[in-house]
């Protein structure tokens, strides 16, 4: 096992106890990246080569010098007896939707390809203050709009470390891939409809979407402002807890970050699940799929392997003392996707109006007739298909004559979705649970190109994750097994506002109980390159 394969917790311990230097950790990660990552995502990348198909392609930009300076500073502090921070020497990657001062911050879009941020996102700054080494910016769906990373303007797009022919999921796909492939121990992602949890599930890592307001959004390029949450991606629950500890808490630069106190997530980890009430909902064991053209829905159960993985987790937790509550009703979960189709598009269209070729980013090279023509040409050339689609959809459903039918109605449906959770988590309610246990996704990672282009089917990959975004509650996806084909299965825990501690504690108990499971001994395909 190489240094880069250690957990963040182990790395910080090694560095603090001088069993390894932060510089050695960095070298190990750079070597791994050199071996498995292949050429970084870039504009106008040409055809995929044979080699490209055998590489992970998590990164867009490597920031080796930034990481090296930080590693040397950490090692200096350790040598000098100073506190090197909670994440001392821990290698991290940053989804390229966050601004990091002095580095390209592209949103995986041509329109921001040349943008070098003059400031740093709060969550990144907090990790660096705690000694993390920022190795670089990782790929995503353009402006986070997708569930596979195929829509990135920076190609080759990431490939799943467990099967290089399958997608990584998205939108935090580069984050998930970089963690799964051992290139970094932690990655900072964002979750708007499942964008942390779904790629975590597809790539066999832990992904935590915090409560809305738990982590500052300052420095995050906005998609759906009422839904976006930065959060940790890690190889185990302890590492995710360490990272959340670092980034959580109010930020004067984000008025929507809440002043709720941050508990000690790490301390709570080993408390076990004795007495916790964990719910299963039939509404999370089936998915509704619309017919491509008629819009009529049919309902399908999730794959048997997924149901079994969740039921096995429930059994394991029950054996450790949790009480399993079956049949928790979540009748409005199925409305999550249609409501999201409306709300997120309205917010996206609004947020994308700022990109116009005037103040920063891409400007058309053609000569425009006037300022409006400059906007049109710049946006036509700078945005890919998915941002264009979201702008058009958002404008349509929020137009004065349709707003009542679509946008206003979707916001009221959101209230219904939230009420499901309020009732489930109400200590005085009919069925009180501390957390819900569900599959994270309705399928394992699909093959590359299998779904891309069908924007409706792509959105349905988020069906089991998006209710938490509407409701604002926290959720975590944990590795829960492998399919017969060897693709990761994710299981999800959902909890009440600001109770990430409960989710992490349950997740940790599950990890401990299953640590000898045969699937936990399997390595991703990228380990065989």
């Amino acid at each position: 096992m190489e240094l880069c394969d250690l957990s963040a917790y182990e790395i910080a311990q090694h560095v603090r106890s001088q069993k390894a230097t932060a510089v050695q950790v960095l070298e190990s990660c750079l070597e791994r990246i050199q071996k498995v990552d292949g050429r970084p995502g870039a504009l106008d990348a040409g055809e995929l080569t044979a080699e490209d198909r055998l590489r992970v392609h998590a990164f867009i930009t490597l920031t080796e010098e930034r990481a090296r300076a930080q590693a040397e500073e950490v090692d200096r502090k350790v040598a000098a007896g100073e506190d090197p921070g909670l994440l001392a020497g821990v290698p991290v990657s940053i989804k390229d939707i966050f601004c990091v001062q002095g580095t390209p911050s592209t949103a995986a879009s041509r329109i921001l390809a040349n943008f070098v941020s003059p400031y740093t996102a709060t969550s990144v700054a907090r990790m660096e203050e705690q000694g993390a080494l920022v190795l670089g910016k990782v790929n995503l769906d353009e402006f986070t709009y997708g569930s596979s990373n195929e829509s990135s303007a920076f190609q080759p797009c990431p490939r799943n470390p467990w099967n290089l022919n399958h997608v990584v999921g998205g939108s935090s796909g580069g984050s998930a891939a970089s963690v799964a492939a051992g290139e970094v121990a932690l990655s900072l992602g964002t979750d708007t409809a499942g964008s942390i949890r779904q790629p975590a599930a597809f790539c066999g890592v832990v992904g935590l979407k915090p409560t809305y307001g738990r982590v500052s959004r300052y420095g995050l390029i906005a998609f759906g402002s009422s839904l976006d949450c930065p959060g940790p991606m890690a190889r185990d629950v302890t590492d995710a807890a360490m990272m959340l500890q670092t980034i959580a808490g109010p930020d004067p630069k984000d008025a929507t970050s809440a002043t709720v106190p941050v508990p000690d997530y790490i301390e709570a980890l080993e408390e076990g699940v004795q007495g916790l009430r964990i719910g299963l909902s039939p509404d999370y064991f089936r998915i509704a799929i619309p017919d491509a053209r008629t819009g009529k829905y049919h309902t399908e159960p999730v794959p048997a392997e997924f149901e079994q993985a969740v039921l096995r987790a429930a059994q394991v937790l029950a054996e450790m003392g949790a009480e399993i509550i079956e049949d928790v009703p979540m009748p409005n979960a199925r409305y999550g996707i249609p409501a999201y189709f409306v709300i997120s598009r309205v917010e996206a269209a609004s947020n994308l109006h700022r990109f116009d070729g005037v103040k920063y980013g891409y400007r058309t090279q053609r000569t425009p007739a006037d300022l409006r023509d400059l906007y049109r040409k710049t946006r036509a050339e700078g945005f890919g298909l998915q941002p264009k689609l979201r702008i058009l959809m958002g404008m349509y459903v929020s137009a004065a004559q349709y707003s009542e039918q679509y946008y206003q109605r979707a916001l009221r449906v959101r209230t219904l979705i939230r009420r499901d959770f309020d009732q489930a988590f109400d200590p005085d309610g009919a069925v009180y649970v501390d957390a819900l246990l569900t599959p994270t996704t309705p399928t394992p990672a699909f093959p590359l190109e299998a779904v891309y282009g069908d924007s409706v089917m792509m959105q349905y990959a988020d069906q089991l994750t998006v209710p938490a975004n509407h409701a604002g509650i926290p959720g975590v996806s944990l590795p829960g097994g492998l399919t017969a084909e060897g693709l990761p299965i994710g299981i999800q825990l959902l909890g009440p506002d600001f109770r990430e501690d409960t989710l992490l504690r349950i997740g940790r108990a599950y990890e401990v109980a299953t640590q000898d499971d045969p699937w936990r001994q399997e390595e991703p395909q990228s380990a065989h390159l």
Partner: protein, 106 residues
Amino acid sequence: MPEQITQEIFEHLVALAALELNPDEAEYLRGELNHQLAAIQELSAIPLDADIPASLHGVPFPVEVRQGLRQDEWQPYPEPQTILKQAPETSDGYIVVPDIPHTTLE
């Protein structure tokens, strides 16, 4: 399922969105828009009591967890050049754009 977004509505949307589309893009995007609208028809069938309010976000945001707004105070930015140099075209610290469409008042 009839098309809801006709060619005419679509062109209007494209203009409002300040976009230009080539024919392939336009065909794909109009197709996907209609496809998505079909997928969200379900919304209109959801029974909603009249007293169900709209939620602009999911988590309640009571005053005790709000930071309050910052004072509206001017703060100097140490390096305005790092911001200005992101602009595609500048001149003497001003951002340059082409002619702004305008009508001269008589």
